[in-house]
């Protein structure tokens, strides 16, 4: 580069015979490397078009999604737990984990910090329930939600195992009588 600079210093004989408001121009050719980049990018573009549209080797957008999605499903073998294993957990460790999930998933945004309920979601601590009181009902409403009533389905965010834990935690809330509890909604639970 410095060599080239020195050379072109001498090349003021390349000054062209015109000027605009004192601005002169040199008759240098464009640097070769910039022209090379230009031709390479044109060639690359032709190959790109050929790859996707003439030879049809490359996937289109939809096919690419299907391919990557299949790979994703193979990588994470997404299985549901069998219903036999889905039972209420009562050990302290599972309940603690359930409590952590309750916080992590922002359940409190609708059901309150202590399950007392608020403007959006129902009270989880009383003797009433909209969608059933037993373990299976609680599990089901958390997993599949009730979108029309505002309950999110958590099946896309929580595994069955984690839903089992948070369901077990929610069931422990019953009868805790927290402050600011929301009025009862739904039907009374049968004991």
């Amino acid at each position: 580069m410095s060599q080239e600079n020195k050379n072109s210093e001498l090349h003021d004989d390349k000054l062209m015979d015109h000027e605009y408001d004192g601005i002169k121009e040199l008759d240098n050719p464009p640097p070769r490397w910039i022209m090379a980049i230009f031709y390479i990018t044109i060639g690359w573009s032709i190959l790109y078009a050929a790859y996707f549209f003439w030879l049809k080797v490359g996937d289109d957008q939809d096919a690419e999604y299907v391919r990557k999605s299949q790979k994703h499903e193979q990588k994470f073998q997404m299985v549901n737990m069998s219903s036999d294993d889905l039972v209420l957990l009562t050990d302290a460790e599972a309940i603690d984990e359930g409590k952590a999930i309750y916080g992590e998933m922002n359940c409190f945004a609708c059901h309150g910090m202590n399950g007392e309920g608020n403007a959006i979601g129902p009270n989880l601590t009383d003797e009433y329930s909209i969608s059933g009181c037993d373990f299976k009902s609680v599990f089901n409403i958390i997993k599949n939600g009730n979108p029309a009533k505002g309950m999110t389905a958590f099946k896309g965010q929580l595994s069955d195992e984690r839903i089992q834990k948070v369901s077990s935690y929610v069931i422990t809330l019953k009868g805790t009588n927290p402050a600011n509890a929301k009025a009862a909604q739904g039907e009374k639970c049968e004991e």
């Binding site: 210093e9 601005i23 240098n28 464009p30 990018t41 979108p147």
Partner: protein, 819 residues
């Protein structure tokens, strides 16, 4: 030859440069405000007038059209007169141009603050202002071409080629993109819909960058850089090659803003390839600038002007390499919708445009005021502060972009999104937003140093409004001498013909992309289940558009697993056919809303949630940075305009039935009442005519129509007597049945068919409605709503239900037996 005497108009240059300085300060301050809003939602001030959605367009428009625009005009008016040895064509046109442009800026500021916006990025202004822009732009072109025609110089210099391309390019872009059907003085609908609107909009948007922020600045560079360095232009040939290749190629590259979105693959490929081919033509400008400085680098050390030019040209080179890289689809999935784009635009905006304007101002103002710059030291201080501020601004944003992208696509070992809540990824990068504020503040401080320096300089001198000059009259050289004159050299003295060729080069790219999108039906495959907006939903959409919600929320889901798991099925072209304008957005500061209305989808929220969230987003999510929109509950919708809107939509081809406009208000009130009743269940009282109700209706419409995955009806199967149903035991049929089961039935009956919670086991001997093939078929087809079984006959074909029945009875149930 006898010299003619004439006067340069310096006053108009002074006016434009003053406007540049004033609007520049305003634009940067508003920029700082939006940066503060993103880190601390408090700075939305709880007022509708100062929400991010309204302030962000104010910032971009103030910088692009007010600051940069006035700088272009000032720089052009000064250099054009000198290069052509002629006074501007007509003083009245100059004045109309100046005051007209300032009027547009003021109107823009007022309308944005009032919430009047078309929400087409960088073209947010409503139609009366668009018309005003067209008129003022024609005045500018007329004045410029008039000056070129009455010039006293044989050839037009390279800078002027770029000015011509600017005038023609912006004229084409602005007119084509702004076509809209007015409803009232402050509301119009883009005549383009959905994917078509997206193509037109980004053909415009990308080329607004090209023909407002690039070509005029290359023109300015070709004048001010050699003047300030007192060196000849390095290569005349390079000037020619990079001029024509750049203006031709740029027009094609727009679709790179829409990669992996609801756009035909061929259009995306054009966006990718033409962006890559733009590298060399763009760099042509950079190296011609830098090589022109050969032999003048010692001057660069002392001169703030040249230092600004060097940074400008370097930033230009960086941005025009980064841009094509961002246009590669694999890179684009990181950079699009994240802060990478914001960093990219600010390197170009603060470095290239800012640097060139600052250098130019420091160079012209002392010459115009016939004095010396008040303080070269302050100018150098400005240079260092500004350069450093660009880094402090951009680096945190690059960091934020990569962080957020990595978080968004992170999966847990179980195969769930690690951060299913979008907000977590945003909260993570908020510290970067805080650092960005430091960068912006430094840039403003540097700017203010310049303002002080320049006003001191102006106070020390005075402008000679009409500067005397003389030059011989132009005598045409006549026809081309094929031996001594190249074709290009000949064209340079035929300015009108030159302009026509520029126009041709510009028109091709847009025509090839836009015309097929509008006239070839297969490019926009329709989806039957997609229905037009009801009057209430349309009203909600209009509010969404006028508030600029697109500045944070996108409405297009890309075909990546980590987007479909988070937001729902990826977006299809046919979903957007009634969207005037389209609202895909370009940056996700909030989550995508394309499927916010799909009941059972991951983004669905009920009416009470939306109500509470609009009233106080921080109550719902403490970390949220969304401004509150509590006035939605107070402000009324304008019922008088509804019939007009329906008729306008009919004109644009939306298939409302004939005469629907007369019932539209009734329809609106009826739908509004259902939402009001719904809210009442959550103890929320609201009148049906409030904006809040319309917004909730719109949120619940989004993405709803596509429903479950589109069904391919292969053939219909005649079932005369249900008893006669024959199970399909072919491998393909069972696989098809399994696929339906896995996407639909699994929700209640479990992947193994054993049933979840209270839903029945399909693998045992017990059947609630009978176990014969036809009984199972009818159970699926007609459902049993009281027990929770959904009727599927409207969602699946008869053949598909038969396949499903076969899968259940032959595969699921048989498995159990064999155990």
């Amino acid at each position: 030859m006898e010299n003619q005497k004439f006067f340069y108009d310096n006053k108009i240059v002074k006016l434009f440069l003053l406007a540049t300085i004033i609007w520049g300060v305003v634009g940067v301050i508003v920029g700082l405000l939006v940066a503060l809003q993103l880190a601390f939602p408090f700075f939305n001030f709880g007022l509708e007038f100062t929400t991010f959605g309204r302030m962000r367009p104010l910032h971009t428009n103030a910088i692009i059209f007010a600051f940069v625009g006035n700088a272009i005009f000032g720089g052009v008016y000064y250099s054009l007169q000198k290069l052509l040895k002629a006074r501007m064509f007509n003083d009245t046109l100059s004045k109309i141009h100046f005051w007209g442009w300032q009027l547009i800026i003021v109107l823009a500021a007022v309308t944005f603050v009032l919430g009047i916006s078309t929400s087409k990025e960088y073209a947010e202004l409503e139609w009366p202002i668009d018309i005003l822009i067209t008129i003022v732009w024609v005045v500018f072109g007329w004045n410029m071409i008039g000056t070129i025609v009455k010039r006293r110089v044989q050839h037009i210099y390279a800078a002027i080629w770029w000015y011509l391309a600017t005038f023609l390019g912006v004229a084409i872009l602005h007119v084509v993109n702004s076509f809209a059907l007015p409803i009232s003085l402050t509301k119009s609908y883009s005549i383009y819909a959905g994917a078509q609107d997206a193509v037109v909009q980004w053909w415009y948007g990308h080329n607004a960058v090209a023909f407002f922020l690039t070509t005029p600045f290359l023109g300015l560079m070709y004048y001010y850089l050699p003047k300030a360095a007192n060196r000849p232009i390095y290569s005349y040939k390079l000037s020619i090659i990079h001029f024509w290749s750049l203006i031709f190629l740029y027009m094609w590259a727009g679709p790179h803003h829409l990669l992996y979105q609801a756009l035909p693959d061929w259009a995306q490929a054009l966006g990718v390839t033409f962006s890559i081919m733009l590298i060399a033509p763009s760099w042509g400008g950079m190296i011609n600038g830098l090589l022109t400085l050969r032999g003048a680098w010692d001057k660069v050390r002392d001169s703030a002007v040249l230092k600004f030019f060097v940074v400008a040209v370097t930033a230009y080179g960086m941005s025009t390499f980064e841009g094509p890289m961002m246009s590669l689809k694999s890179v684009n999935q990181i950079t699009h919708f994240t802060d990478w784009t914001i960093a990219h635009t600010h390197i170009a905006g603060m470095g290239w445009n800012g640097g060139l304007v600052f250098g130019m101002l420091y160079w012209i103002i002392p010459r115009l005021f016939k004095t010396k710059l008040f303080s070269e030291k302050l100018a150098n201080a400005h240079f260092w502060i500004a350069t450093l501020s660009i880094l402090i601004y951009a680096i945190p944003l690059y960091w934020a972009a990569v962080t957020q992208w990595l978080m968004l696509r992170e999966y847990t070992p179980e195969g769930f999104l690690a951060y299913p809540n979008f907000l977590e990824t945003l909260t993570q990068i908020l510290p970067m937003y805080t650092i960005r504020i430091i960068g912006g503040t430094m840039f403003l401080i540097g700017f203010l140093l310049m303002v002080y320096n320049l006003f001191k300089t102006m106070a020390a001198g005075s402008v000679e409004a009409n500067e005397a000059a003389e030059a011989p009259a132009l005598v045409s050289q006549g026809s081309r001498n094929p031996v001594t004159e190249t074709i290009h050299r000949w064209m340079e003295r035929r300015a009108v013909r030159f302009s026509i060729w520029v126009f041709v080069a510009l028109a091709i790219g847009g025509a090839v992309e836009i015309i097929p999108m509008i006239f070839i039906k297969s490019n926009v495959p329709t989806i039957d289940s997609v229905k037009p907006y009801t009057p209430l939903e349309l009203e909600g959409r209009d509010i969404y558009v006028s508030e600029g919600c697109y500045t944070c929320h996108s409405q297009v889901i890309r075909p990546f697993r980590w987007e479909t798991d988070r937001y729902g099925e990826y977006s299809k072209i046919g979903e957007f056919v009634y969207d005037h304008p389209y609202q895909w957005g370009s940056r996700r500061t909030g989550p995508d809303l394309a499927r916010a209305g799909l009941i059972g989808g991951p983004m669905y929220k009920n009416a009470a949630w939306h109500y509470n969230h609009f009233m106080d987003p921080q109550k719902m999510n403490e970390q949220s940075i969304m401004p509150n929109y509590a006035w939605f509950a107070k402000k009324e919708i304008n019922l008088d305009l509804i019939p007009n809107k329906i008729r306008a939509m009919q004109t644009l081809g939306v298939p409302y039935e004939e005469g629907f406009d007369e019932f539209a208000v009734d329809d609106l009130m009826k739908q509004a009442q259902t939402i009001v009743d719904d809210l009442k269940n959550s103890n929320i009282e609201i009148e049906p005519t409030k904006q809040m109700v319309a917004m909730i209706a719109y949120m619940h419409k989004l993405g709803k129509d596509i429903g479950p995955p589109p069904v391919e009806i292969v053939e219909t199967l005649e079932i005369a007597e249900p008893e006669e149903l024959e199970l399909l035991s072919g491998e393909e049929d069972l696989a098809a049945g399994k696929a339906i089961f896995a996407t639909t039935c699994v929700v209640c009956h479990g992947a193994d068919g054993k049933g979840i919670a209270t839903f029945p086991d399909l693998t045992d001997e017990e059947w609630l409605t009978g176990s014969s093939p036809s009984e199972v078929y009818l159970s699926i087809s007609n459902g049993n709503i009281t027990k929770g079984m959904i009727p599927y006959k409207d969602q699946y074909s008869e053949k598909q239900i038969t396949q499903l029945t076969s899968y259940i009875l032959l595969t699921l149930n048989k498995n159990e037996d064999s155990k």
